[in-house]
């Protein structure tokens, strides 16, 4: 079922799902779209429904704390994936959560973690390349493997520029103790499982040289 981006009412897309015979709804929405669509899906009873003799499940493939907060009580029990969570116990994550909490009085979201890590990685790539010139920085990142950012050994695959790392399965917290305690880690899925053949999606990366600036 395709929905337009930026919709506010998803009811007309949810009613056909009710008796479609499906037992899983993969709600591939991000940001405000998910904040709007997930509570509506729950209101339609999809979280508490049975289909084909099984419990109906709503899956949100791209979960973030901010979205979970916006969707309110609708996230309780909903399963999804996330790239990082402040409750990870590796030394890098613990240190980042502590220093972020001391500065802002709240644990970092996965988006805050991404921004911080990306900045470090870019700085590192520029240092290794010895230049800010993008094609050289790209080369420094292609096939680059690092560790310590909370996801175990992580690889920027050269073939398709995708980031290969472990992924978290998270679930909306049924009994949150604070406004930050919205998601629980259910499982950490290792890089061996999440890595896929780059040929599946394929595609040309195109030239590394920057497009000429307009005069």
């Amino acid at each position: 079922m395709r929905t337009p981006l930026g919709s506010s009412d998803y009811s007309q897309y949810l009613t056909p799902i009710l008796n479609s015979g499906a037992d899983v709804l993969i709600l591939n929405h991000y940001g405000l779209d998910m904040v709007n669509s997930l509570p509506q899906a729950v209101q339609f009873g999809l979280r508490d429904r049975e289909a084909n003799g099984k419990r109906f499940e709503i899956i949100v493939p791209m979960f973030s704390e901010l979205m979970a907060k916006g969707a309110g009580e609708a996230v309780r029990g909903i399963i999804g994936t996330s790239n990082w969570h402040w409750n990870l116990q590796d030394p890098g994550s613990v240190a980042f959560t502590k220093s972020f909490g001391a500065e802002y009085g709240a644990p970092p979201s996965q988006a805050a973690h991404t921004c911080y890590v990306q900045t470090l990685l870019y700085a590192d790539a520029v240092e290794r390349a010895g230049t800010f010139y993008p094609p050289e920085v790209i080369k420094a990142l292609e096939g680059h493997e690092f560790d310590g950012m909370g996801n175990g050994k992580t690889l920027y695959r050269a073939e398709d520029h995708q980031c290969m790392k472990s992924v978290l399965v998270v679930q909306g917290n049924s009994a949150p103790t604070s406004e930050f305690d919205v998601l629980n880690i259910v499982q950490e899925v290792g890089r061996d499982t999440t890595t896929y053949d780059p040929a599946i999606f394929g595609g040309e990366l195109g030239p590394a040289e920057p497009a000429p600036l307009c005069a």
Partner: protein, 343 residues
């Protein structure tokens, strides 16, 4: 197949009721004051944020910091105690649970005041100016209202839970003697549908059966003659603007559990309510209601995969397509009157 079509039809009625309710206030203002009110969406948004504010007050907490315990991110633990429950006991809990319906009572006087203040303060000075000026000033007002709300409440949506008893879906199929769990629909959407019906009915009854409403209708038909008869029609129109603000605000309050409100929520409905008003006929109240239901039902059916397989993307354009066709066939809209916006 029957249940699929029945559900889409029900959904269309539900959407249509919301569209009609939102468009009602807009056409009320246009029909009486002749002003194209682009701030109507902002009034919807202000209504929604009345509910947010009421809930904020009802869920006030005392925060004590316990330095002996640390949060997982290394800060002293904050211990929060709800205030209203502490004061009022169980009744406080009921108030918090029913914060959205409670907000309706509070939103009525607030929206009435906001509406009257807007009309007396700004819009009154634009009656004799061209429509373009009216559009600019009301659109400006909408932007100001949005930015004020954004600066107070931040840009992120703030979820408003519905009362626990009214969550989930009702088994309409079972009510009608059919198999259970086939035709189910969210309880709150059914309530919104009923609520829209009651508000629309009340506005019609007010205009049709009260002396005040009769004078207003006379003023809509011929403002000058009514004034010559010694009636202060301006004051009545001011109250009508206030009433339109109340209708928009209540639509907003009741919509908050369906859509977590942020400062931009009104803009999403503004364009839509204009299409409803134009299709129904500028200034026609029955037209707005009819067009609301028509567009709601069409949009619901156009979103089915079976329909989209024939015409891809039809769900995104159906409303505008219908508007174009109707304006070509009936340039005044479904129930538009001669002489409105045609001087």
């Amino acid at each position: 197949m029957f249940e699929v079509i029945f559900l889409q039809f029900l959904n269309g009625l539900d959407k249509g009721a919301a569209y009609a309710l939102i468009a009602l206030g807009l056409t009320l203002v246009f029909g009486t004051l002749g002003v194209v009110n682009f701030a109507h969406g902002a009034l919807f948004m202000l209504g929604a944020f009345t509910a947010v504010t009421v809930r904020l007050f009802l869920t006030m907490e005392t925060v004590t910091i316990d330095p002996t315990q640390l949060s997982p991110w290394g800060q002293p633990l904050e211990v929060r105690e709800p205030l209203v429950q502490a004061w009022l006991g169980d009744f406080g809990g009921v108030l918090v649970n029913y914060s959205v319906p409670v907000s309706i009572l509070i939103a009525i006087p607030i929206m009435l005041l906001i509406g009257i203040a807007l009309e007396r303060g700004i819009i009154k000075h634009f009656y004799k100016r061209p429509h373009a000026d009216q559009i600019l000033v009301t659109f400006g007002l909408a932007i100001v209202a949005q930015e004020v709300i954004k600066s107070i409440y931040g840009p992120n949506p703030i979820p408003q839970p519905m009362p626990t008893d009214l969550r989930g879906a009702a088994d309409i199929g079972a009510w009608l003697g059919m198999q259970a769990n086939i035709i189910t629909y969210p309880i709150w959407r059914l309530i919104y549908f009923l609520f829209a019906g009651i508000v629309i009915g009340a506005v019609f009854a007010f205009l049709q059966f009260t002396t005040f409403g009769m004078v207003v209708r006379a003023g809509m038909a011929d403002r000058e003659t009514v004034s010559i008869l010694g009636i202060n029609i301006d004051r009545r129109f001011t109250i009508m603007f206030g009433l339109a603000a109340v209708v928009a605000g209540l639509a907003g309050v009741m919509y908050t559990p369906l859509l977590p409100p942020n400062y931009h929520i009104g803009m999403d409905f503004l364009v839509l309510s204009f299409v409803v008003v134009v299709v129904g006929g500028m200034g026609s109240l029955p037209g707005a209601v009819l067009a609301g239901f028509l567009l709601g039902i069409l949009q619901s059916f156009a979103s089915m995969n079976q329909v989209k397989a024939i015409i891809p993307g039809i769900d995104q354009i159906i409303i505008y397509l219908v508007a174009v066709v109707i304006l070509l066939v009936r340039p005044r809209g479904l129930m538009g009157r001669r002489g409105v916006m045609e001087s």
